[in-house]
Amino acid sequence: MSTIPSKIINWTILNEIISMDDDDSDFSKGLIIQFIDQAKTTFAQMQRQLDGQKNLTELDNLGHFLKGSSAALGLQRIAWVCERIQNLGRKMEHFFPNKVELVNTLSDKSIINGINIDEDDEEIMIQVDDKDDDSIYLISIAKALNQSRLEFKLARIELSKYYNTNL
């Protein structure tokens, strides 16, 4: 497992997108808004899978899907977490780090001041069944999903600062 990037946004990547604003002044902002919707939807789908079907392949696909767009926009910490979800769904990785550990990797920790990092967490309701091989992956994915919600929140704060609007 690679280590999570310390910066929320990879500006090299996002600036490439922003540079296309020349033609369409709201192009990048539109993409960000679209992404916010997409992320919310995807998180909800993941949560449904965890609560219901518990289909690891579906979770892999959802993780991959959101990884693609978040990486394309330079939202690299979200992309990293999504990749974990993808790999956990493929059973290529077997655990997910703790939230505190990951938050400590942030290069600019001031951003977490004043927010409750546990606020958005959904409870993990996985029945632990020793015979169910998938359990450890599902539990880890649930942890990762909570982490991705936190990362999503941090990214929105950063992006809102940049675009000077409440995204």
């Binding site: 296309m20 993409l31 679209q34 693609g68 767009s69 990486a71 394309a72 926009l73 330079g74 990749e83």
Partner: protein, 703 residues
């Protein structure tokens, strides 16, 4: 004696390259390598550069410049400095001269340099003569004992280690040795203040007090080379392709590792048409602007390099003038000449700003007048050839101080219809392919490559430039041409296969910005279906997709291609995208290029992608600069594979419609699941309905 073969390397530098940065390149070689092998290695080093694209093994040679024999007048200088004391003085003189030159600066040598050339003569030993001098002087191509020539500058008394030292001075024939007095025209700018390194191939022979440093074993092998006269006082020595590199190295530089980068051998290219300009050291390239006279000479004799004496080195004053002549005068001259002698007018444009203005003027003018048509001819950066319009002088621009794309604007008579006539003795290497130079009144359907808003930085500023340079004729749809540098991307149709709308939007927006037509597919099955409709050149394929993965889709496409002989058989009927009607027709003969979009860290994905038939991959997130570079590259590749259809798609479309339309039932029902206009409904594993309206050649196998 020569033990570590791995470390053998020789420095090579492209001769007369106009790039500001033209650094020597080290090429490794081993004992059995010939000049020809060196060429290949050199090409490897420069792979993916434009220079590489326009040159091949046969068009380049490796050699060096050497001075021609002196006239008798000059020999007095030698006499004065003969003997050991004299030699020291001579060297000191050299030092004095050289030390006033900038240590690493331009190639220019001081004016006085040529005037006082005789001072630079090195002491001429008086004992022996080069065994093969006469023979050498008599024929242009001989096998020659180079060591004899090279060592001829050294008095045996001063260098007892070198019994092969000769005394060329004693014999008239000697004076014709091209290897004499190398230092006086050395193309190498870096002269060591203490004269230890005066010129790459002369140091060992020039400075008696350096002999220990450069002492080398006597090599008795002779080298095979040809000579070519460059000017009155300079020869070019070109080594034969089968000459062993090691021999040359030992002859010129001594033991392995002795050659420094500043002493690189030169790589001559016959694509480079400016060989009639003397070695770069004689002219300060930064200031050098060709005079009208030179230009006309070039235009008239663009390919004859032998014995073209543009610069008389014996006439330092004139060369000095040429060197210092400012560009403005030059242009004025040119214009005057043009006004007085013919109706053509040339204007040099060397930066983008000028170009914009010129194209605007052109547009304005065009609306109003019946005057002769104007066109802008885009020449690639560092264009070397003359452009001769009906044998009139044309500006040649490679030494222009502004090292940008060079544009020649010219005006021609309306009656001059043929672009081929217009381009005259244009360099036939493809350096500047002029696809269209002349506007025709009835030209309503430009078949030129896709328009783009702006040149990509890669295109204009790097060696990466594709060789296809398209001139922009004044166009019936002038509003589409904001600048003349627009049409740099090849006309290709791209399919984006990507399930995430955000990534679709990014890629799509990028392609739109570059005016590249594209379609979207959101899964592998859609991709295959759309591909079956034909007309695609390039597919960007995400791998992990719903319904049908990118890997599977790529495999299916390759299977279909195989079944249909695409890319294998000739005679498959070409059909093409018709930009006017917006319809895609059947397969082109070339296989589609599939580029996988993979996660950056997944080696497995990359492997799988290539195994499934993808040609290349891009890692996500896609770097857009990289992407534009790649689109140019792939597009040009397609153009090369299938140039006819790439170029003539338009007319062929028309032909085939006219000829074959009775057989066709056009079924263009729009599929709402698809994002583009011309999607025919396709049931998997069955014939595409649109296939029926294609003209299937007998050789084509039904899918």
């Amino acid at each position: 004696m020569l033990n570590s073969a791995l470390l053998w390397k020789v420095w090579l530098r492209i001769d007369n390259s106009t790039d500001k940065v033209n650094q020597p390149i080290a090429v490794q070689f081993d004992e059995i390598d010939t000049i020809d092998d060196l060429k290949s290695r050199f090409f490897q080093k420069l792979s993916s550069t434009r220079w590489r694209e326009i040159n091949d093994n046969a068009s380049i040679s490796i050699g060096l410049y050497a001075p021609k024999p002196e006239s008798q007048d000059d020999s007095s200088g030698w006499n004065n400095s003969a003997g050991s004391g004299g030699s020291t003085n001579a060297c000191n003189n050299i030092n004095a001269k050289y030390s006033t030159s900038p240590p690493t600066g331009t190639f220019g040598l001081l004016k006085g340099f040529t005037k006082d050339r005789s001072i630079l003569q090195h002491p001429k030993p008086t004992q022996r003569k080069g065994a093969l001098y006469e023979a050498f002087a008599a024929t242009p191509t001989v096998a020659m004992a180079i060591n004899a020539d090279f060592s001829s500058n050294e008095a045996p008394s001063l260098s007892p280690q070198r019994p092969y030292s000769t005394s060329p001075k004693q014999f008239p024939a000697v004076a014709k040795s091209p290897l004499l007095r190398f230092a006086s025209v050395s193309p190498y700018p870096k002269f060591h203040p203490d004269s230890q390194i005066i010129a790459p191939t002369s140091h060992a022979y020039v400075s008696p007090h350096n002999k220990n440093k450069y002492a080398r074993p006597l090599v008795r092998k002779s080298l095979n080379y040809t000579t070519e006269s460059v000017s009155d006082s300079t020869y070019k020595i070109i080594f034969e392709p089968d000459e062993l590199a090691i021999n040359i190295y030992k002859e010129l530089f001594g033991t392995m590792g002795s050659q420094s980068a500043s002493q690189s051998l030169l790589v001559f290219s016959n694509v480079n048409l400016r060989q009639d300009i003397p070695p770069l050291d004689i002219i300060n390239v930064v200031d050098y602007v060709p005079t009208t006279e030179e230009i006309s000479q070039q235009a008239i004799q663009p390919t004859d390099h032998r014995d073209v004496d543009v610069f008389q080195l014996d006439n330092p004053v004139s060369s000095g003038e040429q060197t210092s002549q400012p560009a403005k005068n030059d242009k004025a001259d040119l214009k005057d000449k043009g006004d007085s002698s013919n109706p053509q007018e040339f204007k040099l444009i060397t930066d983008e700003d000028q170009l914009r203005r010129a194209s605007q003027e052109l547009k304005d003018e065009e609306k109003a007048t019946e005057s002769p048509w104007q066109a802008i001819l885009l020449l690639p950066k560092g264009y070397q050839g003359g452009v001769d319009f009906q044998n009139k002088p044309a500006p040649s621009t490679d030494s222009s101080p502004v090292n940008e794309d060079i544009i020649t604007q010219y005006e021609t008579g309306v009656n001059a219809e043929s672009p081929l006539q217009q381009s005259g003795p244009l360099n036939d290497s493809g350096l500047g392919q002029i696809l269209e130079t002349q506007r025709r009144k009835d030209n309503t359907t430009p078949t030129s490559p896709i328009l783009t808003n702006s040149q990509t930085p890669h295109y204009s500023n790097s060696l990466y430039n594709a060789p296809l340079v398209v001139s922009s004729p004044p166009d019936p749809l002038p509003n589409l041409f904001a600048t003349t540098s627009e049409k740099v991307f090849p006309k290709i149709n791209v399919l984006i296969v990507e399930d995430n709308v955000i990534n679709q939007a990014i890629l799509g927006s990028f392609l739109r910005k570059h005016k590249i037509s594209y379609k979207l597919a959101k899964n592998g099955q859609e991709a295959v279906n759309i591909w079956k409709e034909g007309g695609l050149h390039l597919i960007f394929m995400d791998l992990q997709l719903p319904v049908l993965s990118g890997i599977e889709a790529a495999k299916q496409i390759r299977d279909f291609e195989k079944q249909n002989g695409i890319g294998i058989q000739k005679g498959l009927h070409n059909t093409h995208f018709n930009p006017e009607k917006g319809s895609f027709k059947k397969f082109s003969q070339a296989p589609v290029i599939i580029v996988a979009l993979t996660a950056s860290n997944s080696q497995m994905d990359k492997r799988k992608a290539l195994l499934s038939g993808c040609n290349d991959y891009l890692t996500k997130p896609v770097n857009l600069h990289w992407l534009s570079k790649k689109i140019t590259e792939w597009g040009c590749m397609q153009a090369l594979i299938d140039f006819d259809s790439w170029k003539q798609g338009e007319s062929r479309m028309t032909d085939s419609v006219l000829v074959k339309s009775p057989q066709k039932t056009v079924a263009h029902s729009n599929n709402n699941s698809n994002t583009f206009q011309e999607t025919s409904p396709i049931t998997p594993n069955k014939h595409s309905p649109s296939r029926k309206n294609s003209h299937v050649s007998p050789t084509q196998i039904e899918m």
